[in-house]
Structure formats: C-alpha cells, structure tokens
C-alpha cells in the first residue's frame, strides 16, 4: 500500500490542511480543523479507496495517521 497516496487521501478530507503538512507520524486529532465530521470522512475514504470498513472503536482509538494506515493495510492484506 502506497504511503504517500494514503496521506494524500487523508489530507483531502481536510479543507485547510495540505498533504505536505502530514506524515504517517502526524497526530491528526491535534490538527485545528479536526472534527467528528472529518472522522466520518476518513472512514468513508477508507471504504471508497480501499474497500475497508473501519469500526467506530478502530477510529476512536487511532491517534496517528499510521494507526489508520496500519488498520487499512492489515485489512487489505487479508
């Protein structure tokens, strides 16, 4: 799974945050514009781009972009 592409998709869920500001290590909840609506957008992105459905728990427990990336990666490798 392409890390850069994943970060790009992740960044697209924000209005004012560019992919260049993000890395897999970014704590996305610390981004100013993070909201519950963006959390749902990230879940939708994972479904649309990777066919992976995140559970509410998985999303709630994720803090860094890598947490979401690793869940998606594990589920796509099944």
């Amino acid at each position: 799974m392409d890390e850069k592409q994943f970060i790009q998709y992740f960044a697209e869920q924000f209005d004012e945050t560019d992919a260049s500001q993000l890395t897999l290590d970014t704590k996305f909840r610390d981004i100013d514009e993070w909201s519950s609506v963006i959390a749902l957008s990230v879940m939708a992105m994972c479904a649309e781009e990777y066919d992976v459905i995140l559970s509410a728990n998985e999303m709630e427990n994720a803090n860094r972009i890598s947490d979401v990336y690793n869940i998606v990666k594990a589920k796509t490798n099944k």
Binding site: S35, S36, V37, L40, A44, A47, E48, S55
Partner: protein
C-alpha cells in the same frame, strides 16, 4: 433475511404534514463553534428542520396528513379496512394510538387498528406490513400512518442529535392493484447494535426516575439525560457503510432489477453525508436521489414518504428502490411501484 414479495397490491396515495415551527442550524452557535457551523451544515445537508409545539404529537401530524389524503383522493372512509400507526412516540403507553386515529378520522368501528414501533427503518417495515394485510382476503385498503416527533427526545445541548432531527407525519394508502408489479422487500435486524441509537430510560427496562432524568455529559461534551436520545454517530456510520449498499445490491441482483433503470432511489434522510455515501457506493445517478433533509432534517421513520411528498410530487413516478436504516439496529430495502401513487401537497400544521 426475510425476503417478501407482494403482487396485486400497491401504494395508491401519499401525503405528509410538517409542523410550522422552523429551527435553523445556523442558530446553533451556542452548541457548535461558529467557524464549524457552515461546515457541519454542508456535510449533513440540513439547513433547517421543523419541530412541534409541546402539545402536538406524531399522531396529530399523521391525522392531518391522513385527512388530506382521504379528501384529495375522495376515499370512502368505510372502504378503509385497517389503520396502521408507526411511531416511537405514540400518544400514550396505553391505549395504542391507532384506535384513537380510527375514531378521529371518522373511520367505522369495523376498521382494524394496530400500532407498530421502529425507528428510521420503520417505513420499509410498515409498508411491508401494510402490503401483507392488503394482500389478504378480507382486507382491501390499508391506511398506513408513519410519524415521529424526535424534537421531543433530543436535548438542545446534544452536539450529535440537535443538528439532525425534525418532526413529520405521513399517510400512505395501500390498495389492491392489477398492474402485475411484484414488490420485493428484504428486511433485516441486528440487535447486537442496540446501543448505537438509544433512549435508555422511560420504558420497562429502566423506568423514569428522578435520577435518570438528571443530565450527564458525554465524551464529546454533549449534555443529555437517559430519557433522551443518544446516538453514537461513528457506530451508525459504520453500520450504514457495512450493510446498506450491500443490501441494496443484493435485492437488485437477486431479483433481476437493473438498479440504474429504477426510477428513483429514496433513502431514509439520515444526513447528506451518509446518503451520498450510499448512492455513490452503489453507483446510482445522484440526480435521481431526492433529498428533503435540507428543509426537514432527519425525521426518522417518516422521512421516505415525506421525501416522496416533498420532492417527487411533480415528478413522473415509475418505480423506486427505498431503504430505511437505523436504531435496532434495523434496516430494510424494497423495490416498489409508484406509478399509481398520487402525491398530495405537503401540509404545514
């Protein structure tokens, strides 16, 4: 899965009633940071919604809708054999509301009357029940009344639910038909998700007490009591993503229904984010997915007939795939005929 097929019965008329009071989401500045309000409105697609006065109930809205349907279609009251009323906020615990509506509507005492209870999946289930009765010998016409007044359940300080819910009442007339159209319903439930949308107190499991009337603060800062609706938005979205697109595809593929040839896709008006996700996921043309939630919000079970009434009254109606999903967890999908359906103008009450 319960797959049910009906031949020889159809929807003949639909009407809807909404309360006059308007609550605008742009006025939620007390609850949501001002800079987030516009984003929230754009995402959920709800600009405003209607709410009832303290003394108005779901059955009052349904009564108005039913009266309009009866008058607009010159229905002989003696020809209605059954009244079904679906709501999660009936007038009383006892008696059921359907007999009260039978009397208020001036229907004969030979009319059977029955209450049903479900949340946002309710219309699909109740329509199936109406068609089942109408298919039976001895019953021709069924008047299906589906209404909800969620504004009475929602705490104004609930960040998840306050922007979403509105009130509405609807009436649907189901009758015998000889078009040969076969309506198909797939009905599902998953009670393992009972906590995703819940009003914990006020019924048999936890009666209302002074203690559970007290408000508490949720993780996201929402304030509500156990006698008001709680929703875990992420769990509900996960549920919708998992089951709704798949269930629509299954209904179509297993019944030789070519989805993009179906006239309209009418989804429960949960919020635009969710309904857009479903429509895109099943690749259905968005221009044939009507939305009424911008004006009326998420009205729970009445949202499908309300949307038909609000958005399709001037449209050429053929067939439709409808889907309702929500508390329970419970969901249903159906392919129905709307070509014989007369849609009344919405009433403001």
């Amino acid at each position: 899965m319960a797959r049910i097929k009906y031949k020889g019965v159809t929807i003949k008329a639909i009407s809807a009633c909404v309360p006059k009071n308007i609550s605008k989401n742009s006025e939620l500045g007390y609850l949501i940071p001002k800079e987030e309000i516009e984003k929230t409105i754009n995402s959920i697609g709800i600009v405003e919604k209607r709410f009832v006065d303290e003394d108005t109930t779901a059955s009052d809205l349904c009564f108005k809708a039913a009266k309009k349907l009866i008058e607009d279609n010159n229905i002989d009251r003696n020809s209605i054999d059954l009244v079904l009323f679906l709501s999660q906020l009936p007038d009383y615990k006892i008696p059921a509301t359907a007999p009260i509506l039978q009397h208020r509507l001036g229907l004969p005492t030979t009319t059977a009357a029955l209450d049903l209870s479900l949340g946002c999946s309710g219309y699909v289930y109740a329509l199936s029940t109406a068609m089942a009765y109408a298919s039976m010998e001895g019953i021709n016409r069924v008047l299906l009344l589906v209404g909800e007044t969620f504004s009475k359940f929602v705490n104004k300080m609930d960040k998840v639910d306050a922007p979403l819910y509105g009130d509405a009442g609807t009436a649907t007339l189901v009758d015998k038909s000889d078009t040969g159209f076969v309506s198909v319903f797939d009905l599902y439930s998953d009670g393992s998700g009972e906590n995703a949308v819940k009003i914990k107190a006020g019924e048999g499991r936890h009666k209302t007490t002074v203690e559970n009337l007290k408000e508490h603060t949720e993780k996201d800062g929402s304030i509500l009591s156990d006698n008001e609706v709680f929703m875990n938005g992420m769990e509900v979205f996960n549920f919708v993503m998992r089951v709704v697109p798949k269930s629509i595809k299954t209904l179509c593929s297993e019944n030789d229904i070519v989805l993009d040839q179906v006239g309209h896709l009418v989804l429960h008006q949960a919020n635009k984010f969710m309904t857009d996700f479903v429509s895109k996921r099943i690749k259905y043309p968005l221009e044939r997915v009507p939305y009424s939630l911008d004006k009326f919000g998420n009205t729970s079970s009445p949202s499908i007939p309300l949307t038909i009434s609000s958005e399709l009254s001037d449209a050429k109606l053929t067939d439709a795939v409808i889907s309702g999903f929500g508390a329970g967890l419970s969901w249903g999908v159906a392919h129905i005929n709307l070509s014989e359906c007369k849609v009344s103008e919405i009433i403001d009450y």
